[in-house]
Symmetry: C2
Subunit: 144 residues, 2 copies
DNA sequence: ACTAATTAGTTGCATCATTCAACTATTGGA
DNA sequence: TCCAATAGTTGAATGATGCAACTAATTAGT
């Protein structure tokens, strides 16, 4: 007997451990993994990245430091505003991001395969609804 | 247009930030929150707790240190085996765990409320299936 | 029964994530 | 031109975590 609360908590925490153990798997830290995947969708300055990841600018600076040290991203001053620093994936960064995305997808696919075929479509649809609902909730948060 | 992969990733990451920002909210660390909630279900020794949280015994020792320092848990030697240390919630620990559980449930309830009523039952059912599928997957992991 | 191997837990050391606050550089307005 | 606001970096502190060395307790082998 489990409540929906326990189910959400358990599922999300298990997904986090999959990320840590299977996907990052020692070679990359989870934060780096998230950032690499974010940068797949485009180039952003440090403040924007920090806001997306919900960390301070200082934390993001260091995260970028780490990826830069491994040659996965490069920094560039914005042309229109010399204060802003635009972060972009390098060629090897793109490769690494793709590798991580592949692993992530495998991991999720493995879970979905264990769901009865007849239910699978409903589950996929539910995940989409959940994501949207969470996004709406997050959008109107202030708190603390 | 989002794939189910993106939906899972986005939802789980958002839930993690809710945990950090709304639930723990400065007063408790996320790890402490998880451990307190685990201990709501019973008393366990350090190794078992470490295995459940998928961290090393050393990490668990320190997590327990932190909760003990705040008076939320107590350690006790197991009667049958003097090496084992059984960790249990104190009265104030139970109170704190209940407070955190309440916040967590609120947080999840807020998300669920944004899902159309007609779909909500399906979503709840899907979460249960997902949790089970993830548990099965985790059970047969070795990796790395 | 005594010793050796195993097991549970703790601790030192290192790395990474994170926050806050101070600091630098750049921009923009009065 | 000078000052306030903004973007980013950096120092100092705390916490999470893994690994490996270490202690204490138990178990197995002889």
């Amino acid at each position: 007997m489990t409540s929906v609360f326990e189910d959400v908590i358990a599922f999300c925490r298990m997904f986090s451990s999959f990320e840590r153990e299977e996907i990052c798997c020692g070679t990359v830290t989870p934060s780096q993994c998230v950032l690499l995947q974010t940068l797949t969708e485009g180039e952003w300055d440090v403040s924007t990245l920090a806001a997306q990841s919900r960390v301070t600018k200082g934390a993001m600076t260091r995260l970028v430091d780490g990826l830069e040290a491994r040659g996965w991203v490069k920094r560039e001053k914005a042309k229109d505003d010399g204060r802003r620093v635009v972060v972009a994936l390098t060629a090897s960064g793109k490769k690494e991001a793709a590798r991580l995305a592949r692993l992530t997808e495998q991991s999720i696919a493995t879970i979905l395969e264990r769901i009865p075929k007849t239910e699978r479509e409903q589950v996929i649809r539910s995940l989409h609804l959940l994501r949207q609902a969470a996004e709406q909730t997050r959008a109107q948060l202030d708190c603390c």
